[in-house]
Symmetry: none
């Protein structure tokens, strides 16, 4: 069944608030087998909202709206609903009682304006809100379902999960969707697609999408079928093909991140890690410690931004820097050796590169980055050539470093 999500509010169309509600609703709808065909954001204009609601009801069967259900003057979603469905607002004593009780529980008196929250479209199904005063509204008419939820993300999520999803499941007929995301890194989209194309047979109802980001390319598999088992079988068949053709680049699934997966490997092997960073300025440490509990394996790092610090703290020979430059395989190697010895860690990583915009040469253009790795068994450095964008180069260097470690631990050549 196809659907459209509409989010309401001036703060969304001016770009000052990031719309996270529509992504959440889309995931829930996709999970239960609905297709989201459009997502629309519209400002606090009655005419624009009315047009958006009518259009959505014309082109899809399920419409979910968030925002504009508050008690103040700029909350006009209910006004637009009344116009589109030609229904009156009816006062609901039991809804007002709930709101009054909520205030009383907090030792507060209910503001008079809250009475607006008990005015709801005639004949609407009401979805209770456990966290706030704006209840969810559901109108089913002429084969169409229209749901309005409050804009506060936690309230929208609660009503969605407790009320809307069970309600919509009941309506669903037809297909089950199986969605799996395989996460790859260290390979560009074009090469990945060429590898996967070899011997690829796509069954009916199966889709494969490439989703690139700076940390790698995700492969999203969607398999649709009437039965749960058959949808699962189709998804697994494609996953097997992907693992056979490009398995060495796949580091995880769904909510895994490169830093969480690599952190788990360190934890499982009871190993520790330290880092020495130059051009990334701390971003490598930041990414690694973005994983809660990373203190179990991450000891710390040195941000050796100046050459003096490389020399003094990481014991890089000044003559080596003189001879080969601070951005060199030799320096990355010396930095990582010094780092492992300073922190007494099992593994160490180092990064030194030219992030840009300045500092490049013909020999070593902006984007040239050396990443070093040291372990009990080996010490080596690899060169990478990224692009011209400072922030992007730094982020790519961070992920390339973590991937180098993941491969070292798993012994992937």
């Amino acid at each position: 069944m196809d659907s459209e999500i509409i989010t309401v509010g001036d703060e969304l169309v001016t770009g000052h608030t990031l719309d996270t509600n529509s992504a959440l609703i889309a995931r829930r709808l996709t999970d239960i087998g609905f297709t989201v065909r459009y997502k629309t954001s519209v400002g606090d204009s009655l005419a624009d909202m009315e047009e958006a609601f009518r259009l959505a009801l014309r082109r899809t069967r399920v419409v979910i709206v968030t925002g504009g259900l508050g008690p103040t003057d700029d909350d006009i979603t209910k006004k637009a609903i009344v116009r589109v469905f030609k229904r009156n607002l009816i006062f609901h004593e039991e809804v007002l009682e709930d709101i009054r009780a909520r205030y009383a529980n907090r030792g507060l008196e209910m503001p008079a304006i809250s009475q607006n929250q008990a005015l709801l479209p005639q004949g609407a199904r009401i979805f209770p809100n456990k966290l706030g005063s704006a209840v969810g509204i559901c109108i089913a008419e002429e084969g169409r379902v229209f749901v309005a939820l409050p804009g506060v993300p936690a309230e929208a999520e609660q009503i969605l999960d407790d009320e809307v999803v069970p309600y919509l499941r009941g309506l669903r007929s037809g297909q089950v969707l199986k969605v799996v995301k395989l996460r790859t890194t260290g390979i560009v989209e074009t090469k990945l697609s060429a590898m996967i194309a070899l011997g690829l047979k796509m069954e009916g109802g199966v889709k494969l999408a490439y989703l690139p980001s700076y940390s790698g390319v995700d492969l999203r598999i969607i398999a649709a079928d009437d039965g749960d088992e058959e949808a699962d079988r189709k998804a697994q068949a494609l996953i097997r093909h992907l693992e056979a053709t490009c398995g060495r680049y796949i580091y995880g699934r769904d909510n895994d991140t490169l830093e969480s997966v690599t952190g788990q490997l360190l934890r499982d092997n009871d190993k520790t890690l330290a880092v020495a960073e130059s051009c990334t300025g701390g971003e490598l440490g930041m990414r690694i410690t973005s994983v809660p509990g990373s203190s179990a394996y991450f000891l710390g790092g040195v941000v050796a931004y100046s050459n003096d610090i490389k020399t003094q703290q990481l014991r890089v020979d000044p003559q080596l820097i003189e001879e080969h430059g601070a951005v060199s395989e030799e320096c990355a190697d010396a930095m990582v050796t010094g780092c492992r010895s300073l922190f007494q860690s099992d593994y160490a990583l180092s990064v030194t590169g030219i992030a840009g915009p300045d500092g490049g040469s013909d020999d070593k253009p902006v984007g040239t980055t050396y990443i070093g790795l040291a372990s009990a068994h080996a010490t080596y450095a690899r060169v990478f050539t990224f692009g011209s964008h400072r922030e992007v180069n730094r982020t790519r260097a961070v992920y390339a470093a973590i991937e180098l470690l993941r491969r070292e631990i798993l012994d992937i050549k």
Copy 2:
């Protein structure tokens, strides 16, 4: 002039990728005086895209699309453009040469599939892409402007700022808009607005907006008038009021960042900086070094994630940690003292806190963070209480630390 933003991709309508492009574009359009009436996301379906493009061209004058410009089969934005505008795709040799050169610079051969990137709608204006292979496309027809940009955020942003915004500015007729953004930090929105309200008189055509983020609250001033001079006068009058009521929280304007402004202060005073980080894991160093040229004043840092490293490298007395804990004023003080002495820097900053989700106590709940500062004149630490969200706590700690330094240098109490 009114506008609509359309973002394209299955990953957006399934909610698996958060749409940040449309918020960025909306801010840029709002800044130059355009009104965004709708934002729409649509999946990789040719029919749905075509319908969305046609509708947007009917209801607004400027349409900006991102996504679906890549070389693979699921990138079909150009196909939809060809249908809507009834134009052929023309091969552009110079675009292909650019792409080939980009690969050559990285020592790679261009994949054959990249040829698709040089096929562009007849008569379209081409906006160069400095970071990738998908150029921007602009078609002006019957009083409507249609722009298509790549979906990769950094690429979309570069083309938007370098090409699209200047182009759209040129189209605007009528009123002159003066837009200035004053950037504040260290004060919450509600307090800021109460301070500003005192004695505030708003002239006609002047708007003031509060734009909060984790680094602070921006004040956006828009002054509209028929003449350039008069618009400027109105904007300046409001700016004077803002500087008089809350000037001590204003650190910069427009594209200034807290890290660039503070870096400039260090540079102007010929001073150096080093950092010692615990809970932020490297993010403080990363932010400081996000400014090109920061090597002029930033020496480096220690990420002392484990207590052993705090003791060994920063010379924090183990007994002090035993007695007061690693998250304490005493420890922040000792860390920053050790850091300044280790790096021989003019200034040093330290951060130690409980980022969460675990590790909090009744005494020191999650979000409790101590920030230390050391200079030739003084050494002290301040406590901050942030919230419960790990990433947000870390980012807020980073900006609080940089702001502490800015105030120290400028002697703002």
